[in-house]
């Protein structure tokens, strides 16, 4: 078997081995798990808040009910190892299809693979244990499917509606998949080459995303992309002076350089430009721009840099190289499976505060990104706020901000929500003010302080 045919599998297995090395630690993972558990226990979709003291009973939906259930079932099956394995499998699926898409143009493996690896390195910023992982797997799958269909394998387009149907309930990123199908349909219509199958696939795909009323609507997904909540780090715009941002910038600079030297086609412009905008709009979307440009760069870099390509093609592959790489990748996977993390990394959370917190009465005001952790670890103590965000918009979030930043009326907020306990990072202005006002403090090791009303 040739390196070209084996490459997707090898990249997928290697990526799996790397992806399962880290312990779960994401702050949103906990409330996704709690939501999944609630739905499995009650055998119904969670449609109103059951975790907070501030919006208890109010209707809301994050639209990822199937993703949350799958996440919880993985946990129920294998504990934290189940979560880690689910992450590894989904990331590996994404890596497999991204590599296939990059190699479809016939680019030399030595040109395509570095691009794939760089894109996967960038994608590590979203290798978090959330339903988002389903989009990380399904976006490259859809991209590869559409590139193949554009190249002539039109029958594969029948997969589009069922994939979108499932994707819609797994994660809000399905809108990206639908947009991708629509963009390929526009290209097919403009080129007048088999436009009907693409238009039908886009239309049926669009209908499929509307079938489940419990999913997040297209309007909500678009609104989220258009106005990301900037106070969440992953929703802030890319900073190219950070490692991930620099990699994203590298893809932008590379794309512009290759485009200026080697041009492109309409499909390249209609796919790359919107995803460039998306990547510029929020850090979490940077990998999708990189994924989208990898097939383009793999195809056009040989034209832009013919000397590099000639060099890559001249390199003679030793006969033992491919089996050697395969054995190495297999060994990586075995080592990774033998050392799967069996417990989450909770060093960033107020683990020591759980015991004293359980003895407190009244509402607790907590850090935003500790809310999910508290939902999972201290389920009897409703949270003030957590990473679900939407149920708290706009009033609760504004009040929370007023309180922790000592805005005008911060005392009123504490009174209005009957806050008797505060669990925050020590450097919050509110912590200093409450200490000065005589609230009793239980110190954390380094990263938290628990304050009780005197």
């Amino acid at each position: 078997m040739s390196a070209r045919r084996l490459a997707p599998l090898l990249v997928a297995v290697a990526t799996f081995a790397i992806a399962v090395a880290g312990a779960p630690s994401d702050s949103d993972m906990y409330w996704h798990l709690a939501s999944g558990r609630w739905m499995v226990d009650h055998r119904e979709i969670l449609r109103s808040d059951v975790f907070s003291s501030t919006v208890m009973g109010q209707p809301y939906s994050v639209g990822e009910w199937l993703g949350e259930i799958v996440l919880y079932l993985a946990y129920a099956w294998g504990g934290w190892i189940g979560i880690v394995l689910l992450r590894g499998v989904l990331v590996a699926i994404g890596a497999f299809f991204l590599t296939r898409a990059a190699l479809r143009s016939g680019a030399p493996v030595l040109v395509a693979l570095p691009l794939v690896i760089l894109a996967l390195v960038l994608s590590t910023i979203v290798w978090t244990d959330r339903p988002h992982l389903f989009t990380l797997a399904l976006f490259p799958l859809m991209l590869d499917l559409l590139i193949a269909a554009r190249a002539g394998a039109v029958r594969r387009l029948w997969l589009v509606p069922p994939v979108l149907l499932v994707w819609t309930d797994l994660h809000g990123g399905y809108a990206l998949g639908l947009a991708l199908v629509a963009l390929f349909a526009i290209d097919a219509v403009a080129r007048r080459r088999q436009p009907l199958p693409f238009v039908i696939a886009a239309s049926l795909g669009g209908v499929a995303t509307l079938l489940d009323p419990a999913s997040i609507g297209l309007g909500a997904a678009a609104a989220h992309a258009a106005a990301p909540p900037r106070f969440i780090v992953e929703e802030s715009p890319p900073d190219v002076l950070t490692p991930a941002g620099a990699l994203f910038a590298l893809f932008i600079l590379g794309t512009l350089s290759v485009a200026l030297r080697a041009g492109g086609e309409l499909i390249d412009a209609v796919v790359i430009v919107p995803l460039l905008y998306l990547g510029l709009s929020a850090q979490r979307d940077m990998p999708y721009f990189a994924f989208a440009v990898v097939p383009y760069l793999a195809a056009r870099t040989p034209i832009a840099l013919p000397l590099l390509t000639a060099w890559a093609e001249r390199i003679k592959q030793p006969r033992a190289a491919l089996p050697g790489v395969a054995v190495g990748v297999a060994a990586m996977a075995i080592v990774a499976l033998a050392g799967l993390p069996a417990a989450p990394d909770e060093s960033a959370y107020p683990t020591g505060a759980l015991a004293p917190l359980r003895q407190r009465t009244g509402a607790v005001l907590n850090e935003y990104d500790w809310g999910g952790y508290l939902i999972w670890r201290a389920p009897d103590q409703p949270v003030f706020i957590d990473g679900r965000l939407t149920p708290y918009l706009p009033q609760v979030l504004a009040d929370w901000n007023t309180a922790i930043r000592l805005g005008p009326g911060w005392r009123d907020v504490l009174e209005r929500y009957h806050v008797n306990t505060v669990l925050l990072r020590p450097d919050r202005p509110l912590v200093g003010a409450l200490r000065e006002d005589g609230w009793r403090a239980t110190e954390g090791e380094k990263n938290w302080v628990l304050l009780s009303r005197p």
């Binding site: 715009p237 002076l241 910038a249 512009l256 200026l260 309409l266 430009v273 000592l406 005008p408």
Partner: protein
């Protein structure tokens, strides 16, 4: 210079005269420049009580001096006149560059220049930064020219290095252009090494010497993100959105074009794009650098109907139009509001602020206080780097009422605070015994 470019420049120059004079950094630039005009280059701080007597940067001494000269000649209206002239020249140069890339196609030239004009709009402030942007606009056509034009970049860099720290980007581009030419013009590659060396030397001949590099490097490589204009381009803001659209247009144009650009063109565009991605204030650079590329490649929708006509503009008509443009600019400057717009400044609160050291003021009011209350030295102001890290950290600790803020205020001997009503310290300090000496919608004065 094409008449069309001059007229467009004058139009925008006249329009910018309507913009109020209120930039928070203007005042310290004028104060510093005034000292330079008195032949005392401000090498030590004389405006604050926290770093009084310590060395400060002199890297923008000429830019500061020009603003101070404008003020000396015509009060704040003189400063406004500098803005009007600079914007007129900026838009003229940008449009002329577009027209040179696509001669005889003013509609395409406008389309190509529009993103650059729109994005640079956010830098049309009364600061040396605007003069730096003008230098960059001049540099772009020079880098696309021959060796003679490349030589002209050396005096440009010399002047630019005295005006504003953005010269560092210009130097990088000149060096990149020399390298690209040495690669592609192999027979005459020896020419470019002395040009590159002269460009480097030109940026070092000034009162700051090597220190001017450290200032620019600090801004480019580690922009202070807590200042809005030093933040990353954010697509949910108008300038950030405009930048994203501009970048999208350039990428789409490159993808759909059949022409391959030279290595020289890449050496101009790619470094500028990276710098523009680092901070919002640098986004106009990319839009300006991309003007020739867009002008050359943008689709001309009315090309089919265009008829070749002989130009009816002779020298007399041209002279008349230019005189008209100059008259319009003079009229615009004369009719503009020549006063400082103090609607965002704490003018009324000043009567509760005592003279002498001990005042903690908001960062963005520091420069204004130098002008409005010269007897009261500031805690901090927009010069930023002399205050980093100690003074800035302590300022933020007090302003945000962080744990231990009272000890910090005691250590500095802060007696009075001039802050916004929404600042945490304005809420917290009265709880801790500070007296509210004055309060309105803009400012609160707190006295110990």
């Amino acid at each position: 210079m094409p008449l069309f470019a001059i007229m467009l420049g004058a139009t925008f120059g006249a329009l910018v005269s309507l913009q109020p004079i209120n930039d928070s950094d203007l005042f310290w630039h004028v104060a510093t420049g005034r000292s330079t005009l008195e032949l005392q280059l401000a090498r030590q701080d004389t405006f604050s009580w926290t770093i009084a007597g310590r060395p400060v940067l002199t890297d923008q001494w000429l830019g500061d001096a020009i603003l101070a000269a404008g003020f000396a000649l015509g009060d704040w209206r003189g400063v406004l006149a500098i803005r009007v002239i600079a914007v007129t020249l900026l838009v003229t140069v940008i449009t002329a560059t577009a027209l040179a890339a696509r001669p005889g196609r003013p509609s395409v030239a406008i389309a190509a220049a529009l993103p650059a004009i729109a994005l640079s709009r956010f830098a049309w402030t009364d600061r040396p930064e605007l003069l730096g942007l003008l230098c960059f606009a001049v540099l772009v056509p020079l880098l696309r020219g021959g060796v003679r034009e490349l030589l002209l970049t050396i005096p440009l860099l010399f002047v630019w290095a005295q005006l504003h720290g953005s010269y560092a980007l210009g130097l990088v581009l000149v060096l990149a252009s020399c390298a690209a030419r040495a690669l592609t013009e192999r027979r005459e590659r020896w020419r470019f090494a002395p040009i590159a060396a002269a460009a480097i030397v030109a940026t070092l001949i000034g009162p700051s010497g090597l220190a001017s590099w450290t200032s620019s490097g600090g801004h480019f490589l580690a922009p202070p993100r807590y200042i809005a204009e030093e933040g990353v381009p954010d697509t949910s803001t108008v300038p950030g959105l405009l930048f994203a659209i501009t970048l999208g247009i350039v990428v789409a144009t490159a993808l759909l074009s059949r022409w391959s650009v030279s290595v020289r063109e890449l050496a101009l565009l790619i470094p500028v794009l990276f710098v523009s991605l680092t901070a919002l204030r640098y986004t106009p650079f990319f839009a300006i650098a991309a003007v020739p590329l867009l002008a050359e490649r943008l689709f001309d929708p009315i090309a089919r109907w265009r008829q070749q006509r002989k130009s009816i503009v002779d020298d007399r008509v041209r002279g008349a139009f230019i005189a008209l443009a100059v008259a319009a600019l003079i009229l615009a400057i004369a009719r503009a509001d020549g006063r400082v717009d103090e609607s965002g400044y704490p003018r009324a609160a000043l009567r509760a602020v005592p003279a002498g050291p001990g005042l903690l003021n908001r960062y963005e009011w520091g420069g204004w206080l130098m002008d409005a209350a010269p007897a009261t030295p500031v805690f901090i102001d927009g010069r930023l780097f002399p205050f980093v890290p100690t003074v800035l950290d302590d300022y933020r600790a007090i302003l945000n009422a962080h744990m231990g803020w009272e000890a910090v205020a005691d250590r500095w001997g802060v007696r009075t605070m001039l802050v916004r009503p929404s600042d945490p310290i304005a809420i917290r300090a009265p709880d801790r015994g500070w007296r509210v000496a004055y309060a309105d919608a803009i400012a609160v004065v707190l006295v110990r």
